[in-house]
């Protein structure tokens, strides 16, 4: 009895309790992180040097898988498709920014428009796939709408088969799906701008375009630039739209679609791992550039942007180097 109480007292005493708390609270999430992120990550690095399947023997092949990634027609071709998605994500950002700035001001029915444009974000990816397979089918939705606008069905391409246009069709669906999300995000950012700035603008007789250029844009430029850079890394790893709409056929297979096929259909696990690592390195580089841009132009947290510091130094030096 006595010993038990003293044990309890020992456990609840400050330092021990603190350690115990740190340990127990971190145990589960860190274990999960190790098992489902880091162990697979290091395993994948290992896999990339082998010729192997999920089950059975494996053979060490050195850098051959990596050579193959760069020489295989389909892998490298697939990386070029990222350009379509980069353009699409810029279009998406521009549209999101436009609608966000329109909807941030008093306008009738803004809630309805916001809801309508946002809802696609909540539709599940595979459903989006079916919706757009249907939408683009010959003589169906898109063709009908275009015929109303005076186009002739004969002149219209096969949206998902014609290799000159199908990547644009597929990339457009991701604009459709994610534009509303970007818009809601930007509305949040615009709303957090000090309202007195708009009032001051009103007093000075600024119209809404001027308010956009001189008040909104400067206040939310950080989030815009960050989203632009994020969309580049996002575009490298596009997977869902082509996977669910065309299955990667007719030249729409992006890098990850090809990788998925190699891993789970052809069971070329080594090659797929090498592909993943190559892309990961590309993403790391892009992220490092992003971090640098963030630090240089905007400053992290409360820190001043490096650019400002450098400018001030130069000014001081020009003045005669006095501190």
């Amino acid at each position: 009895m006595n010993e038990k109480r003293s044990f309890k007292a020992w456990v609840t005493s400050g330092k021990v309790n603190r350690r115990l708390c740190i340990f127990t609270f971190m145990f589960v999430p860190v274990t999960l992180l190790l098992v489902f992120t880091y162990i697979p990550f290091f395993k994948m690095i290992g896999f990339s040097f082998y010729d192997m399947k999920y089950i059975g023997e494996k053979e060490f092949v050195g850098l051959k898988n990596y050579m193959e990634v760069f020489t295989r027609e389909d892998c490298f071709q697939a990386l070029k498709l990222s350009l379509y998605y980069i353009v699409a994500s810029f279009v998406q950002l521009a549209l999101a920014l436009y609608f966000a700035s329109v909807l941030s001001f008093k306008i009738k029915g803004s809630g309805v428009f916001k809801g309508l444009m946002f809802f696609p974000y909540l539709v599940c990816g595979i459903a989006v796939g079916f919706i757009f397979k249907f939408f683009y089918t010959r003589g169906f939705v898109l063709d009908t709408v275009l015929q109303w606008c005076g186009f002739n069905l004969e002149q219209l391409p096969y949206w998902l088969k014609d290799t000159s246009i199908n990547n644009i069709s597929v990339a457009a669906t991701s604009v459709w799906r994610y534009m509303g999300q970007g818009m809601v995000m930007f509305i949040g950012a615009i709303m957090s701008v000090d309202a007195s700035l708009y009032e001051a603008g009103d007093i000075d007789g600024a119209n809404s375009f001027q308010k956009f250029i001189y008040i909104i844009l400067p206040s939310i430029k950080t989030i815009i630039v960050l989203n632009m850079i994020l969309s580049i890394t996002g575009s490298l790893s596009v997977f869902e739209p082509p996977y669910v709409i065309t299955g990667g056929d007719f030249g729409t297979g992006t890098y990850f679609v090809i990788m998925n096929k190699l891993a789970h259909e052809s069971q070329k696990v080594g090659l797929a791992s090498a592909m993943a690592i190559v892309l990961l390195i590309l993403i790391m580089i892009a992220t490092m550039i992003q971090k640098w841009v963030e630090k240089y132009y905007f400053g992290v947290g409360d820190a001043e942007p490096l650019r400002e510091i450098r400018k001030r130094k130069k000014r001081l030096e020009a003045k005669g180097g006095t501190r």
């Binding site: 992180l33 309508l116 946002f118 909540l122 595979i126």
Partner: protein, 281 residues
Amino acid sequence: MSKAKMKRTLISVLKYITLILGGFISVLPIVVCVITAFKTPEEYASTNVMTLPKNWFYFENFIQAWSQANMGVAFRNSIIILVFVLAGSILTGSMLAYVLSRFKFKGNGFIRNLFLFASLLPGIAMQVSVYQIMYSLGWINFLPGYIIMMCGTDIISIYIFIQFFENIPDSLDESAIMDGCTYFGVFFRILFPLLKPAIVTVMILKGVSVYNEYYTANLYLQDKNRLVTVATSLFKFTGPLGNQYNYICAGVIITMVPALIVFILCQKQIYGGLAAGAVKG
């Protein structure tokens, strides 16, 4: 003056035109699906896709889609997955965030960086080797295993919680400790109840992505008779049923209904949650 006024009306007319166009394009693909889902097979075969159905109470397609895609089981599984994954990741995420934001100890920064770096790894690529781990654990076609895996792959919610903890003053913890509360007590009795807004945000963001997740569900829950989820149930329509769009559209609409209900009920929280998640990046 009248010229300026005309200009202003012109601009607002243009604004409305773009808004209507944007709204139209956003809903058109979905509306056509709704239209098609109510058509009889004869109507579907003979009329243009944009023609409205004769009878808006023709539910045969929905009944067909429901039974063919095994959606009863799918909804049951999805609800089980949602409940456990949300509970698991909210509990573990908030506990981890508590430790990382409240205690200074060796390795704190290291663990933060581990999670940060993990968020850079593209999920799809990781599945190449996660699959192997799930396989050796014997967790393919094993619902609890899938749930545990889904709890583990979450980084954004941890950041939302950390951000939230940093806005709760430390003095609150300290006074509780003075009163003889243990650190566990501080977390469960005092801080956790205060986390409510952050929990709502995480529930929404995580809930949407878990409900819509089909790639990993398809990979790890391959037994489609028993372990189908709402998202993977639609795969039923890829094979020979691939162009029976009256059934497919009905199936798509069914999967969308829960999302629509949640959206209508918690619009404010969804918008707020997205904006909050975005600020952090």
